[in-house]
Symmetry: C2
Subunit: 201 residues, 2 copies
DNA sequence: ACTTTTGTTGACATTTTTGTCAAACAATTT
DNA sequence: AAATTGTTTGACAAAAATGTCAACAAAAGT
């Protein structure tokens, strides 16, 4: 952060973030946000003008955090398989920290404001392009099965993210306890690797 | 439907469904719903008492539709691989019809009312149990790699659903046109099968 | 010590949304 | 054609949420 923030401002952001992306309460009123953060409601307006604005700021910061981490991994010089493992580990952790961020992504991405839009395709794309090339090379080498490298990427994200964000639904439908489901998720890490690498060890 | 519905009632439900699960406008006001359905706002209250109630009804009906289709597939007597293909086909179609249903699922499943809760675990669970057994048998036979059969199920749903519901995000991040992404999805059907069956043809 | 800036509060006005009601209207039944 | 039933409407009242403002308090600067 280049701009100095007062304690209250950071507090509001932190609790808003939690309310939105951890608890999934997107319809939280200004009052709810303020209560949750333990401050007077007017302060939300004082620091962030409007609720929408607060939302955008918190959203952009959270996304940026993730993006820069991924960008770093994408261009890191390391063994392909280790890289995939690192992506999976980080994604697991990040999704479990903010399970509702995706929900917001889905609903809002199509109607993003210009500023927010830019957060989705910064230079980041460059790092991604580099990584897609790497996937193609790995396919040539025979380390992974040959198919559209974009779809390889989509598979990684799908296999990790979906079971986490859909956790409440899966638990209900499959009739699993929280502990059961945690165990299921834990097992997945290795199983996902196996699937992606065509069960070659 | 056992209860006879008047034209207007059905109309409101249909357009509300579209507004919610196709367009993703969950915060739609009674006025918006009425406008979209082309009826007077008061009629929404007349037929459905409250907005929440309308929501629950539409949600339950949509879920039921999907559930009965899946139940049928689960217990159908057919070749295992053909069954998986049928599941994938139906899921592709259903998710693309109501891409925002999942979003609602995620947000609301934890705080469902009792009536809504029951929709999530009817006898349906029985059919599911049968199918899980079938997955285990197929693993024994060597048709698919051996791992937690629940996770096999989770993989199927993840690989199909996630790329569809996250479409707006993926298009932006990967820099693809609508046409490009449609092509990507189309290719996925076969690639998913290949992945699940360990690339054995 | 005093002035300026920054942070905080309660009260207010506005807007949005919701649900109800009685009256008007249409369709059926008697 | 009178009565009953079901449908539709506009007007109303109540509630919830948002953003602004002037007053007050605290901190920083002179």
């Amino acid at each position: 952060m280049s701009v100095i923030e007062c304690k209250t401002e950071a507090q509001i952001k932190q609790y808003a973030k939690e309310l939105f992306f951890v608890k999934g309460n997107f319809n939280a009123s200004t009052q709810e946000i303020a209560d949750y953060a333990g401050v007077n409601r007017t302060l939300v307006n004082y620091y962030f003008r409007s609720k929408t604005n607060l939302f955008e700021i918190v959203y952009c910061e959270t996304i940026s955090e993730m993006r820069s981490e991924f960008a770093a991994i994408y261009i890191a010089k390391m063994d392909f398989r280790a890289k995939i493992e690192r992506i999976i580990d980080y994604l697991f952790e990040f999704r479990q920290t903010y399970p509702f961020l995706e929900v917001f992504n889905i609903q809002e991405t199509p109607k993003l404001s210009n500023q927010m839009d830019s957060i989705l395709n910064p230079k980041y794309v460059q790092e991604l392009t580099v990584f897609v090339k790497e996937i193609e090379e790995e396919m040539e080498k025979g380390g992974i099965p040959k198919y559209d490298p974009m779809n390889f990427l989509v598979n990684v994200f799908s296999l990790v993210s979906y079971p986490i964000i859909m956790r409440p639904v899966f638990e209900k439908v499959l009739g699993l306890t929280t502990a059961d489901y945690s165990a299921l998720l834990e097992k997945r890490k290795k199983e996902i690797i196996a699937i992606l690498f065509n069960n070659r060890f």
